[in-house]
């Protein structure tokens, strides 16, 4: 069997392609999103790689001057949705009302909420995010971390803008409850159900 050396000079010193460079500049952002979506580093890498393979192959369909970052995220989200569908794992749509009821905490407003949350550790927040159902986690991540517009997120998730807003809203609510539960257990050592106090006046609006 012959041993093949690297013999093409062109392959060694290829001219950088502007599209590729601009696309590859999003590697970290896509990897982070993939990590939150899959919650598994190896799967996240595969998801990012598949996203780029699709992007490179269909670069001709990308309209120059439009938002490359949003386009790449759209491919990532689609790929993730499809792979989950293929693998026939948990359906992506969850019954949000059931989730909310299951996780709802009794009304409470005695402590300033922001104060409690200010003490929350970064690791708690990651854990709380990871504990959210997929649907809400991706909406909250795209909005509050990657700071996309509602319209961009609607395109990525292939749902109407109203649904995006509702998912963000519910996702934030669940995240808050998750954090209060984590924090509350740690700080007070009591289960969340025991911690309700008399409702005081609502917060300033």
């Amino acid at each position: 069997m012959a041993v093949l050396p690297f013999r093409s000079r062109r392959s060694a010193v290829a001219t950088p392609d502007p599209f590729e460079e601009e696309a590859l500049a999003q590697t970290d952002a896509l990897y982070r999103a993939a990590l939150r979506l899959t919650r598994n580093p190896a799967e996240a890498e595969d998801l990012v790689q598949e996203t780029y393979l699709k992007a490179f192959r269909s670069s001709g369909r990308f309209e120059r001057g439009t938002n490359l970052r949003a386009w790449l995220f759209t491919i990532l989200m689609n790929t993730h949705r499809n792979s989950r569908r293929d693998a026939a794992r948990n359906p992506i749509e969850v019954d949000s009302e059931v989730v909310e009821q299951a996780q709802a905490l009794p009304g409470r407003a005695a402590t300033p909420e922001d104060l409690l949350l200010d003490a929350t550790l970064d690791v708690d927040i990651k854990a709380a995010l990871d504990a959210l159902p997929d649907t809400f986690r991706s909406a909250v991540w795209l909005r509050d971390v990657e700071e996309f517009s509602y319209a961009e997120i609607a395109g990525m998730l292939d749902v109407p803008i109203g649904t995006v807003m509702s998912r963000i809203s519910r996702g934030r609510k669940l995240l808050y409850e998750q954090l209060v539960a984590t924090r509350g257990d740690e700080v007070q050592g009591t289960p969340p159900g025991r911690r309700d106090r008399a409702a005081v006046a609502g917060p300033d609006v």
């Binding site: 013999r7 890498e45 790689q49 807003m165 609502g202």
Partner: protein, 250 residues
């Protein structure tokens, strides 16, 4: 109060984001002042948004591993070799077929030279990454792996068994992506050193041994599938191992 609880809840996300018109904002303020449940919910969503904004730098601190970057570069380069893919689809089939026939000799030549090294380099990068993340449960059954590949990824590859004679242990299988497409990746340990067998479907190549990134890759093709055996350089006798694999995949 002009807004209902339902209307208020629908506007909570843009309200928290400060991305709301003056009229809606006034309606929200009026409702929230009089409706403690909505006010509590609004406050908790705002608190979640605040805590996320405060944590954002930490959440943005995760970076992609260098091995992934290397693989993406290789993919970019590989896909640049096939810029004709989109154009092909637009050609009438007859014209395309004639062109394929006329250039098949040439294409075959191009596909076996530089791209063999490129394919090997991509697989070696994948080999390194996957063995780092693969958990070793102490040997798995080839039949199960074969089933898993077929069920999860639609691959129908013969999976060579663990072999005490070859000191080879099957530890798992995954899907692997390269610029050329999706391949089956079967992971082994030989005396606890990582060994990989890749099956690249629907692609025949000439036999070759490629040294790349301190690893050795042995390629052979059968029935229009290409098999690539990858191991760290100096891992036993790779030629002998390749013969075992060739025999086992027949």
């Amino acid at each position: 109060m002009t807004l209902s609880c339902e209307q208020v809840r629908a506007l909570l996300a843009p309200w928290v984001d400060g991305d709301i018109g003056a009229a809606d904002r006034a309606g929200m303020a009026a409702h929230l002042g009089l409706c403690p449940p909505c006010a509590r919910r609004a406050a908790s969503e705002r608190a979640a948004r605040h805590v996320l904004q405060r944590t954002r730098p930490a959440l943005l601190a995760d970076t992609a591993p260098d091995t992934l970057r290397a693989r993406l570069r290789a993919d970019a380069q590989a896909s640049r070799r096939q810029p004709a893919v989109l154009t092909w689809r637009r050609l009438p089939i007859a014209v395309a077929a004639t062109l394929v026939l006329a250039f098949s000799g040439l294409t075959l030549h191009v596909a076996t030279g530089r791209s063999t090294t490129l394919l090997a380099a991509q697989l070696v990068a994948d080999h390194v990454k996957c063995h780092l993340t693969q958990r070793d449960h102490g040997g798995v059954n080839a039949g199960e792996v074969q089933h898993q590949l077929a069920e999860a990824y639609g691959f129908h590859a013969r999976v060579p068994e663990s072999s005490p004679t070859e000191r080879l242990r099957l530890v798992g299988a995954r899907r692997c992506l390269t610029g050329e497409g999706t391949n089956a990746h079967i992971l082994y340990r030989l005396d606890d050193r990582p060994v990989s067998l890749y099956v690249v479907p629907n692609e025949a190549r000439t036999n070759a041994t490629v040294n790349v990134l301190g690893r050795e890759a042995v390629l052979w093709s059968r029935d229009n599938d290409t098999y690539v055996l990858v191991a760290d350089k100096g891992t036993a006798d790779l030629g002998r191992l390749a013969r075992y694999m060739q025999h086992a995949t027949e």
